[in-house]
Amino acid sequence: MNQNAEIIFLLCSHLLADVDCKPLEPSEWSRLADRLMQAGLEPKELPDMSDSTFGELAIGTEETRRIRQLLRRGANLTFELEKYQSMGISVVTRADAGYPKMLKARLGKRCPPLFYYAGDLSLAGKKCVGYVGSRNVDEIDQRFTEQTVSKVDARGYAIVSGGAKGVDTIAGDTALRNGSAVISYLADSMVKRIRSRDVIAAIQRGQLLLLSAVKPDLGFTAASAMMRNRYIYAQSVGTVVVRADYKKGGTWSGAVDCIKHEITPVFCWDDPKYRGNQALIKLGAIPIGENWDGDVTKLPEQPEEPIQLTLL
């Protein structure tokens, strides 16, 4: 980690969740980073900053105290981090060159200050197609997923998904079998995930990258599952919705959020059986059928190339 990255880690990491001093939330960090940038300062200058400098940045006494307290966590956080590192889990922050660029470009201040990750981080630089959908799938859903993933693969895309049961797993496994790269933005339980022999093998082959914005051993929370949907969309050139429930569940709200904020083009299986899918198509999702050719660039209107932002 470079020194700016160290500071982001100290301020934003939740590894020491049981301390009474709350780490900065993404929006809080973004606000602080903006102020630093405007004043021509870098995060690494925070530890030696005087009260008056904090004052000039319009940071109150209470907030200053909190920042200073968070900055003192260095030794403790290093101990915690080492436990995860010994398993093969690392940290990447917004101040690191390896941070997923698509996320920075598309989510701006809303992208998480840091990710825990396992696997080859450079995979996040590949062009990806997202896959989302229900945890409960039938054989037809499975076939649709496998067929379209294979077409997408053949065009050289990596697959990005949430690593959950159902559509996510089928999409990921298909791509891995085809020898393609897979990126999973996990919502929970990264530590448990990396004990699977298949996951170990795929990571060691350099085919799989796991990312998590939450503590690697944290269990499932709905909030975290919602957040990571956005990362999948932001990471992808286009995302395929295989099956969404109507007006309920993560797939539905994630897709609606993406369409509303125009994060990335949403492709949706045009199956008249699924009311959720039909509703998404009405909202603006691009309908695709079983014979879709996997070309996510063929659109009613082209998405702009991601803009490079120097965002810390």
């Binding site: 290093t78 915690e80 010994s86 022999r197």
Partner: protein, 689 residues
């Protein structure tokens, strides 16, 4: 800023040591470097005042509202005068190690509440689950690594805690001040420490010569000569001291020999119970014993100011270790004596340690595959043994190695693979071996140098400022203590060593079939006897010659000695017959048993028979040995069973053969079984610590 540090630091010094007190050369600079976000490394000899540096830093940091100072040290006993100066500064200190375990929770609570200013903690304690769980809520203001040379890349032998410390320090954010201290470091160690602390590390380095220590070399090649010299000279040495041995077994024997000859000696190594070693430390501290016979375990956890002598029973592995160990002596007294015994045998032992330090690639691979095959649910060490045919000690070594390389992790009692792929960096391990051989070579050069011995040692540690000490054997031009033992002492030692007999501890249970549980043996064997350590000089060598001689057969000396030893057994245990472990390959064991029976005037009866099988010595670990032994033996049908028998074998290793044979005999009606073997070939107690 720095002027302020200087003013405050000087003020603190004066409040403790009076208005005239000034810092010793380098002390203030080290304090300032530590407090201004530098990585700092202090390489200064014992007594220079390294602890004062971190006491003053702690005081200043605590005044600023920073967290506790954590001093990680394998050497935990702060000397009285050091503690007194810490307290004079108003610092609240605590020691966290295995001996303060019962107060642990209380201490951790005090740390959470910010009531403690400085804690000394061993790496082992630091990485216990209990401390790790508490750590997130204890702010740390300063991180000190005492005896920092221990974490140097080459310096550790899979002491996992040191590897973890190494990794942690390397990536500690620049916001945390880190101070490393050591009295023992050559350029290589310093370069290595520099690498992990970062290139901008501030190094404080002074002369290392300890003027209170004299060195005398004792070229004595046999155990008997060394035993005799110690017996004769330890009572003539002032005060109390330490004898360092390379293996646990050497400590046990030598301590026993000295006790039997009226010298208050106690063994000290990691094969003993915690209570025993604590007791030994206590007794040495209170000068209730003359000498502690210890492995290097002692160097890592003990401090006493008035140790008057240190004797090396064998050559240590390198100068760094040697300097560290002789440095135990003469800390708060004007004069202390150190003796280094040496001979060809030492080289063989050292080479053994160097050669076996790393698991082979095959061993590491096999153990890794076993762990990988149970990735999801994890696997225990015992279960790994069930899957691979590798000696337990080697399985343990491979597990440590794999953990150290972060290829596997341990969570609770189970091992899991990590995401790091299996790798075996043969070239790297060979390079480490080569360094160790070079360091051993340096020890041999020390033994033969004609110049000042102390100067040679500190020169090896890259301190070139030293002058001749004036008090070592070479400076004086004559030995202060005799170089050879007298004939009387030599005879006593020889007699003792010849009578050394090893116990054969009975196994009390069998592993169950799937190795997940155990099955208790209703009538375990009696504790048996074994004449020698296989291959050791003396009887051990005769056994080896007998087994592989042409024709094979054990000599009269072995038979005579065995009969002498067993005569007592026959009398005290009411033995009624002699039998032996059957063999399909040769008759040497049966011949031996028959010869013994004749001398003991007892009947020899063949009670057991053997089926064809793999040789037990090809079975590497307990699980496989036990399974093999089970398949190999049976009682001869319808034989009339004697009441109490001596069960003879030539070589005992895992003890499973003796255990299974004993079980079969007692199941068939024998009352008790007394095992006897000529030699023990197990690796037990050959440990280094």
């Amino acid at each position: 800023m720095d002027a302020m540090i200087h003013a405050r630091a000087s003020e603190i010094l004066r409040t403790i040591y009076g208005a005239d007190a000034t810092f010793r050369e380098g002390q203030y600079e080290a304090i300032e470097a530590t407090l201004t976000h530098h990585r700092t490394l202090v390489v200064q000899k014992t007594g220079w005042g390294k602890s004062l540096v971190y006491f003053v830093c702690t005081k200043l940091l605590r005044d600023q509202g920073q967290g506790v100072t954590m001093v990680v040290s394998p050497l935990l006993v702060l000397m009285e005068n050091q503690l007194a100066s810490a307290e004079a500064m108003g610092l609240h200190c605590a020691v966290l190690n295995s001996t303060t375990k019962d107060r642990r929770q209380e201490q951790l609570d005090a740390m959470r509440a910010g009531e403690l200013d400085l804690v000394l903690i061993t790496p082992e304690t630091l990485f216990t689950d209990e401390v790790q769980a508490a750590l997130p809520s204890i702010p740390i203001g300063l991180f000190v690594i005492d005896e920092a040379h221990c974490i140097s890349d080459w310096g550790h032998d899979f002491r996992l805690e040191y590897t973890r410390l190494y990794r942690i320090i390397r990536q500690m954010p620049k916001t945390v001040p880190v101070l490393g201290t050591t009295a023992t470091a050559n350029d290589r160690v310093i370069a290595d420490l520099k690498q992990q602390l970062g290139d901008d590390v501030y190094i404080s380095r002074g002369e290392l010569m300890r003027r209170s220590l004299s060195i005398q070399i004792l070229p004595l090649s046999t155990s008997a000569e060394r035993y005799a010299w110690i017996l004769e000279n330890v009572p003539r040495l002032p005060g109390s001291g330490i004898i360092y041995c390379l293996t646990q077994r050497d400590c046990d024997y030598l301590a026993d020999f000295l006790q039997k000859n009226g010298i208050r000696a106690v063994a000290y190594h990691s094969g003993l119970e915690q209570t025993e070693t604590n007791d030994a430390e206590q007794r040495l501290r209170e000068n209730q014993i003359k000498v502690l016979v210890a492995t290097i375990k002692l160097g890592m956890g003990y401090d006493k100011g008035d140790i008057s002598f240190v004797i090396h029973y064998q050559q240590p592995s390198n100068i760094v270790a040697y300097y560290q160990q002789i440095g135990r002596a003469g800390r708060s007294i004007d004069r202390a004596y150190t003796f280094l015994m040496c001979g060809e045998e030492d080289r063989m032992i050292q080479e053994y340690f160097i050669e076996t330090a790393f698991p082979s690639e095959q061993e590491a691979r096999a153990v890794y595959d076993a762990v990988l095959s149970h990735a999801e649910e994890g696997i225990t060490g015992r279960a790994v043994e069930g899957l691979v045919n590798i000696r337990k000690a080697r399985v343990d070594k491979a597990l440590m190695f794999l953990r150290n390389e972060e290829i596997i992790v341990k969570d609770g009692a189970r091992y899991y693979p990590t995401l790091h792929p299996f790798r075996y960096d043969r070239a790297h391990y060979e390079a480490i071996k080569a360094v160790r051989y070079r360091e051993q070579q340096q020890m041999r050069e020390l033994v033969h140098t004609q110049g000042c011995l102390s100067r040679f040692v500190v020169n090896c540690l890259d301190d070139t400022t030293a002058e001749d000490c004036g008090i070592c054997r070479n400076c004086l031009g004559y030995p202060e203590y005799p170089e050879h033992p007298g004939m009387d002492a030599l005879r006593i030692a020889q007699t003792y060593l010849e009578r050394l007999i090893l116990p054969i501890e009975p196994r009390k249970q069998f592993p169950s079939k799937d190795f997940t549980g155990v099955f208790k043996i209703p009538v375990p064997n009696h504790e048996g006897l074994c004449l020698s350590k296989y291959g050791d000089p003396g009887y051990g060598m005769l056994v080896k010659q007998g087994k592989y001689g042409t024709p094979p057969g054990f000599c009269e000396e072995l038979i005579g000695k065995s009969a002498t030893v067993l005569r007592d057994v026959v009398r005290t245990h009411g033995i009624t017959a002699v039998t032996c472990v059957p063999s399909l390959r040769s008759t040497i064991v049966a011949d031996l048993a028959e010869a013994l029976a004749q001398r003991l005037r007892l009947p020899f009866v063949q009670l057991l028979e053997k089926h064809g099988t793999r040789q037990q010595k090809d079975m590497e670990n307990s699980y496989h040995q036990c399974r093999n032994a089970w398949r190999s033996f049976a009682c001869i049908p319808d034989i009339s069973m004697p009441a109490r028998v001596i069960l003879v074998d030539d070589i005992v290793d895992s003890r499973w053969t003796m255990t299974v044979c004993g079980y079969l005999l007692t199941q068939a009606g024998c009352e008790s079984v007394f095992p006897f073997a000529l030699a023990d070939s197990s690796e037990n107690r050959g440990n280094e610590t």
